[in-house]
């Protein structure tokens, strides 16, 4: 596993023994960690299943939905994903290649599910996007 900074970042590497000591003194830290990592595992499992069951189009639609739910704002009734996600990052999160993701984004745009303006992705019709996201092979 490798961590790449997308902006200047500070990380702390906490050894297992140190962390165990901390949790023994503060059990709530352990409970929060379990809850958080449990949610991550659930997300990763979903993505793993999607890699097998879904085409790129459905995976991209699902990713856009998840990102907009997690990070989106609602300016004047539409959802947008912050421009912090580059095309290449979306490609690697979907687990595909640039061309396929560009094609899929074009399909979503034509269907009225999303719009791209000023390097941002706007969710224009979440229901249409959900339909795409739910499509299996």
């Amino acid at each position: 596993m490798r961590v790449e900074a997308l902006e200047p970042s500070v990380l702390r590497i906490v050894g297992w023994g140190v962390f165990e000591d901390l949790v023994l003194r503060n059990p709530e830290v352990g409970l929060r960690t379990i809850r958080l990592l449990g949610e991550r595992i659930e997300t990763y499992e979903g993505r793993l299943v999607d890699l097998v069951r879904k085409e790129v189009l459905a995976r991209l639609a699902d990713l856009i939905l998840r990102l907009s739910e997690r990070e989106g704002t609602v300016p004047e009734g539409d959802y947008r994903i912050p421009a912090r996600y580059t095309h290449n990052q979306l490609v690697s999160m979907v687990g595909s290649n640039r061309e396929a993701v560009t094609r899929a984004l074009g399909t979503l745009r034509k269907a009225g599910a999303v719009e791209t303006r000023d390097r941002r992705i706007y969710v224009m019709d979440a229901t249409v996007l959900e339909d795409f996201a739910g499509a299996v092979r």
Binding site: M1, V3, A5, L6, P8, V10, R12, I13, V18, R84
Partner: protein, 106 residues
């Protein structure tokens, strides 16, 4: 920075799983863990013998696997301040903190 409180402790206090811990605990954790400061585009490769927890104190990182062929899949993009993940490489155990129960800051 709040007067008298080192920046490192304040930053750790912002990490979601550590919220509410006493300043003593923050100081202890800061003392017993290693820090990695990455500039934009810089990377940290994790692997090896030990195990631990990787915390993103501030900033934004991509967690990926560069050795899986040409795809370089992104597992997640994490924004501070939270747990990045469980790792199998961590610094050696250094010292111990006092075993008193921490008091919550309100």
């Amino acid at each position: 920075m709040i007067e008298g409180i080192p920046e490192e402790r304040l930053l750790l206090n912002g990490v979601d799983i550590l919220r509410g811990l006493s300043l003593d605990e923050m100081e202890c954790l800061a003392r017993r863990s290693d820090v990695a400061r990455l500039g934009k585009g810089e990377g940290l490769t994790l692997g090896g013998g030990h195990r631990g927890i990787l915390l993103l104190v501030s900033g934004r990182v991509r967690v990926h696997e560069p050795n899986l062929g040409s795809q370089d899949p992104t597992f997640s993009i994490v924004e501070g301040a939270t747990v990045v993940g469980h790792i199998d490489s961590a610094p050696n155990f250094r010292g111990r903190c006092a075993s008193k129960r921490s008091s919550r800051r309100s």
